[in-house]
Symmetry: C2
Subunit: 274 residues, 2 copies
């Protein structure tokens, strides 16, 4: 109780709460130096659960500062219950539903299932297929399938290629392969044969030697592989090779996986699959 610092924030959703958490955190990050005690309340999809959420919010309100409550509630009867809480209630859906109903001249259906792609089997299957593709073309394997790839991510070991490809698959349904460039490729300063036929679909992930060293050090402490000189050599050689072969590249050093993936979709003009 007494150890808890900062304002308490609730993220309430009728489904997973992933969007409301992301947007809410984005807003909170604009208040520098403030700390927030964050509590997720996903799957609030019945009146009983909504009343229990209100009780939990009010219990916090009773002990200190008014909690913040970010919400995405589709059903008005649940929104009406949540709105009675003693927190600052901010609903991303309610804020715009009225304006949309007016603009589209149609009353919204207020139905939970509709809003989150439930039963969208095609979307599910496309994403699973893309994940399987990424796994079957990870780290230089499966080059015989490269003709079916939407994009092929290249870079040095530990520059984030695998998670980027998996995220591309899961978020965008994009088929992404990845291939590690190694000293052998750098010595020849030439693309390996497996890649040269697919030049237009290649994207390079670059990274600073310092960050690369930090990541490798975590993985294999004090190995030659993690030595700064080695990381400097590989990072520099990669840059030279990408420039020489005119391969598009992204600096992944300060980006999250989501940002690297979204940048690739954007820069390469990839079409998301349904």
């Amino acid at each position: 109780m007494g150890q808890q610092t900062g304002r308490t924030v609730f993220f309430v959703s009728d489904r997973t709460g992933i969007s409301v958490e992301t947007l809410g955190r984005g807003l909170l990050s604009q208040f520098e130096g403030m700390e927030f005690n964050q509590i997720a309340l996903p799957f609030i999809d019945t009146e009983d659960k909504a009343r229990a959420a209100v009780a939990q919010i009010n219990a916090v309100a009773a002990t200190g500062e008014r909690p913040l409550v970010f919400s995405t509630q589709v059903r008005p009867e649940l929104g009406a219950i949540l709105k009675t809480c003693q927190g600052l209630y901010l609903d991303f859906f309610a804020a715009f539903m009225g304006a949309l109903e007016t603009e589209l001249r149609q009353v919204s259906s207020h139905s939970i299932g509709l809003s989150h792609g439930l039963h969208d089997e095609q979307r599910y299957d496309t994403r699973i297929d893309a994940v399987n593709f990424a796994l079957s073309c990870d780290d230089g394997i499966g080059i015989q399938s490269y003709a079916a790839a939407d994009v092929i991510v290249v870079g040095v070991s530990r520059s984030g290629k695998t998670p980027t490809c998996l995220y591309l698959a899961m978020q965008y349904g994009v088929r992404a392969a990845n291939y590690p460039l190694t000293e052998d490729d750098f010595e020849h300063q030439r693309l390996p044969a497996a890649l040269s036929a697919h030049r237009a679909r290649l994207v390079g992930l670059t990274i600073t030697p310092e960050r690369l060293q930090q990541i490798r050090q975590e993985r294999r402490p004090n190995s030659p592989y993690a030595a700064l000189a080695q990381c400097q050599y590989e990072a520099r050689q990669l840059q030279t090779l990408l420039a020489r072969e005119q391969i598009r590249s992204l600096d992944s050093t300060h980006m999250s996986i989501e940002e690297i993936a979204a940048s690739i979709v954007h820069e390469m003009g990839l079409v998301r699959r349904r």
Copy 2:
């Protein structure tokens, strides 16, 4: 031009646009029977890009119905430009920033980098480690690492275990292993030895035989593996085994990967890692 049906919707963001797309689509899905022509405009982070976005929106407005524009703009000077567009401009950030500034008695910093976890290396590293964990404990391999798992997902082949574990890693930083239950386990109606020591961290993914058949049929058309009788047998045996061993379970049949993952975090009370 003439082939395009429905209202055009723009998703504008200073960063990836993933949240604004998800929330915007959630809102639009409430308008049943309507079709929308969706255009993503991510990385609108300079005044020039904002003006180009306005021009693109206005070009659509000039040819037909007023477009809808969902936005998350942190910097007021960019928001001011975007707001001049001839679409219905709806900004998820602007809608609440004022209320938050009043409540928190602090002016927000209006800085793009802050809002999206840029430079959050610890979060990045945790997620990469969790992805590596999922890959090293996929499909029954890596059982010697199960002691380090936050959760172990069990189920029949093609019930969504691998993508679920990868999503748990990427979204929540959770270490998730997965283990396929097979006919051998069903015949004995007993957990395999590798799992029985970790009972409290097990969760079963169930699925209807019809949906399982549909997925397997895609993968290996007309194989014995995809036969309805086989899928019925496995689905029923799994249910019996999970009940007998008192393993928590989730029906994944009508859920997206995001929903399965969020449900597991919620039901198992998993702590997200930073």
